[in-house]
């Protein structure tokens, strides 16, 4: 009897450990197989159109140099390194994008989820050791990290001029094409998707605030039900920068010296505002949630009535998968919210450089951006004016879902990012002046 109990409890413990381990590894595969089924459906609809367009493109993408790259890339596997915390994005990459690459270019996509700090650490170590070939091909990157990578010579470039889709469909005069957080790109990274900070809230509560003054009144009316993620979380940081823009202005930050005291002087009114706001926030501003997902969970639970996110269409996705109540709506400040572009870069010693260039080019293809827009509601990077009427119509026909704002409204109320170097300075100032006061 004793031996049986022992056996059973041992087997149970092993089984549970096995399940835990497998669910960690196997989860991705399981998701990919369901995505494949979904991708098949959406593909069947747009398949004929996509094929036509791909053929047209193959003819147009003229330049011999690019054709040679396509030849070289055939049969290669490309490693795409980037943050893996967005499940929907991961599914789309492993599904539609991977199949698009395989079908049109015979390139196998290998998505490697890794935080950007770890990616930079690996690149730095490889540079120190003098590695000739890196496993890292494509890197999802932007902002301060791009500046670091470019200045430390971790990246290959310039390459965007070699990509036909970049020349054809991207607005060359858009400041977000030429600079990343006000730092010159010089062709070292290509646009991947656009993000914009949006605010969302429960519409049953009443009118949403349109600026910081109204936000203060809103918070006084609903004490303890509003908060923002603690800096240096990416989203919380963007929210504070947005408050600064609303109170202090935008242009000054393009030229201010990257010196802590100069910046402190400039953002003083905004810090005063945040200190004034604090007592009406969640937990009276004594603490803030450590990250945006935690804040989002609190909103879903009903603990908060408002939140913010860099994904412009998060409300649509949230309502669809049931995490947000159907009364949730997106809103912006009248003066606008911060928007940025995120990019894909190529590592300096990428093993599969040809495949990386072809894959990045493919990401800027209208049908890929359109499918991403349809599935993930990510703001496309393409210049609408450069698209054919047909494609423009396809984009405007996309059903964005409930509770979101149309692209035109988002883009009309879009503010530029500050120079990357100011971001950590502002985060430090917030920590000193506002947190816990």
């Amino acid at each position: 009897m004793k031996k049986d109990v022992r056996m059973i409890s041992r087997l149970t413990a092993m089984a549970m450990a096995g399940v835990l381990a497998l669910s960690a590894c196997g989860g991705k595969k399981a998701e990919t197989s369901t995505t494949t089924a979904k991708a098949e459906e959406t593909k069947a609809v747009g398949e004929s159109k996509a094929e036509e367009k791909a053929e047209e493109k193959a003819e147009e993408s003229g330049s011999e140099a690019f054709d040679k790259l396509v030849e070289e890339a055939k049969g290669q596997t490309v490693n795409f390194y980037g943050w893996g915390g967005d499940d929907h994005l991961n599914q789309w990459l492993d599904g539609f994008y991977a199949e698009y690459l395989k079908k049109n270019y015979d390139i196998t996509l290998n998505r490697v989820p890794m935080g950007i700090e770890d990616i930079l650490t690996q690149l730095s170590a490889e540079k120190k050791v003098g590695t000739a070939e890196s496993d890292i091909d494509m890197i999802w990157i932007n902002g301060e990290n791009f500046k670091t990578a470019k200045e430390n010579d971790y990246l290959y470039g310039p390459f965007t001029a070699d990509l036909p889709n970049f020349k054809e469909y991207i607005n060359q005069d858009d400041p977000e094409t030429k600079t990343d957080f006000s730092y010159p790109i010089d062709g070292y990274e290509a646009p991947y998707g656009k993000a914009q900070l949006v605010l969302y809230g429960d519409s049953k509560v009443g009118e949403f605030p349109k600026n910081t003054a109204e936000l203060l009144e809103f918070a006084k009316a609903h004490p303890g039900k509003i908060t923002y993620p603690a800096l240096p979380d990416f989203t919380g940081s963007a929210f504070v920068r947005n408050v600064i823009y609303d109170i202090v202005g935008v242009e000054q930050f393009q030229t201010v010296k990257e010196d802590k005291e100069a910046v402190r002087e400039l953002v003083k009114p905004a810090m005063e505002y945040l200190k004034e706001l604090a007592p009406y926030l969640w937990k009276e501003g004594k603490t803030y949630p450590e990250s945006a997902p935690t804040m989002m969970n609190m909103y879903s639970d009903g603990e908060l009535i408002m939140g913010m996110s860099y994904s412009a269409y998060i409300v649509a996705n949230g309502i669809q998968d049931g995490s947000f109540s159907p009364d949730t709506k997106t809103f912006l400040f009248d003066k606008g919210t911060i928007g940025n572009t995120n990019y894909i870069a190529i590592s300096k010693n990428a093993k599969h450089r040809a495949a990386a260039e072809v894959a990045i080019n493919a990401m800027m293809a209208p049908e890929v951006q359109l499918n991403r827009y349809k599935t993930l509601k990510t703001i496309p990077v393409l210049d609408n004016a450069k698209l054919s009427k047909e494609v423009q119509d396809e984009f405007s026909k996309v059903d964005l879902g409930e509770g979101v704002l149309p692209q035109s409204e988002l883009l009309s109320k879009r503010l530029p990012e500050m120079p990357a170097g100011l971001v950590p300075i502002i985060e430090e100032i917030w920590q000193e002046e506002v947190a816990g006061k």
Partner: protein
């Protein structure tokens, strides 16, 4: 012949230890260099910041208190287990299950149960024991670190029991049993015979969990406060500021390493010697 073979068996362990020490050394080296030459500029930098010293005290507080309470609870639990249960093997499996649970999962469970929006708060509110959910006492996200301490106790108690009970069982089975046949009460035989003879295991586990919780990240990050942050959280946030801040982040790690070394020193110096 026999000696050579023993050395071979040790090779895998030596390899991993070497790898681990190498990583530690490289990290420490990075924290002591500025643009190529040795300097303590990074350490000076973090000590001039207002939040480093409070953070050290906060981290010490949560790791010491959680380890101390774990020790006291483990001793109490050991007594109860030894007195009421004979079977080590099924208990061992339960403890193993508790040990393999990841810290982040424990954080999630604590949030689920003890946050002001959590299970207990909702029950209390439903039973009209509190007027509003926010009247539920603050167990998580508070300045003192109650939630973090509870989380550590939840995780480290099974570990300490797993570590120390085998010896306690064997001592109890022989000498403790002998004492009881001579008329000692179970309480007396545990606290005056079994415990003193097996205290070394408990204290060893105490040092291990003290050192571990000082450097641990997930619990203080997920359950902690915005102003009172543990050293590991400060290191993480430093790295988030930008990759070039890595040496500064590593200097926080240097402080944690120094603490571990200090603790090891005390461990080897003051731990009661093994008896026979």
């Amino acid at each position: 012949m026999k000696k050579n073979f023993s050395f071979l068996y040790l090779l895998p362990q030596l390899f991993f230890t070497w790898l681990f020490l190498l990583a530690l050394f490289l990290g420490l080296w990075d924290s002591f260099t500025v643009e190529g030459h040795v300097s303590i500029a990074h350490y000076k930098e973090i000590f001039t910041r207002g939040d480093t010293l409070p953070s050290i005290f906060y981290t010490l507080r949560i790791s010491f208190l959680s380890s101390l309470f774990t020790l006291l609870l483990a001793i109490l639990c050991s007594f109860l287990i030894l007195h009421f249960s004979e079977n080590w093997d099924s208990l061992k499996s339960i403890l193993q299950l508790a040990i393999i649970m990841p810290h982040s999962l424990v954080a999630l469970f604590l949030l689920f149960f003890l946050s002001q929006n959590g299970f207990m708060a909702r029950i209390f509110y439903a039973l009209k024991l509190i007027s509003d959910q926010s009247a539920f006492p603050e167990f998580v996200y508070d300045r003192f670190g109650v939630g973090v301490i509870l989380g550590y106790i939840w995780k480290e108690l099974p570990f300490m029991l797993f570590f120390a009970l085998p010896l306690a069982y064997s001592v109890d089975g022989k000498l403790g049993e002998a004492a009881r046949t001579m008329g000692a009460s179970p309480l007396y035989s545990f606290f005056f015979i079994t415990l003193p003879l097996s205290i070394r295991q408990y204290l060893a586990a105490f040092f291990i969990i003290f050192s571990f919780s000082f450097g641990s990240f997930d619990l203080p990050y997920l359950l902690g406060n915005t102003t009172e942050r543990a050293l590991s959280v400060l290191a993480y946030q430093e790295l988030q500021r930008g990759f070039m801040n890595r040496p500064t982040a590593l200097s926080y790690n240097g402080i944690m390493l120094l603490f571990s070394l200090l603790l090891s020193f005390f461990y080897f110096r003051f731990l009661p010697k093994k008896k026979g």
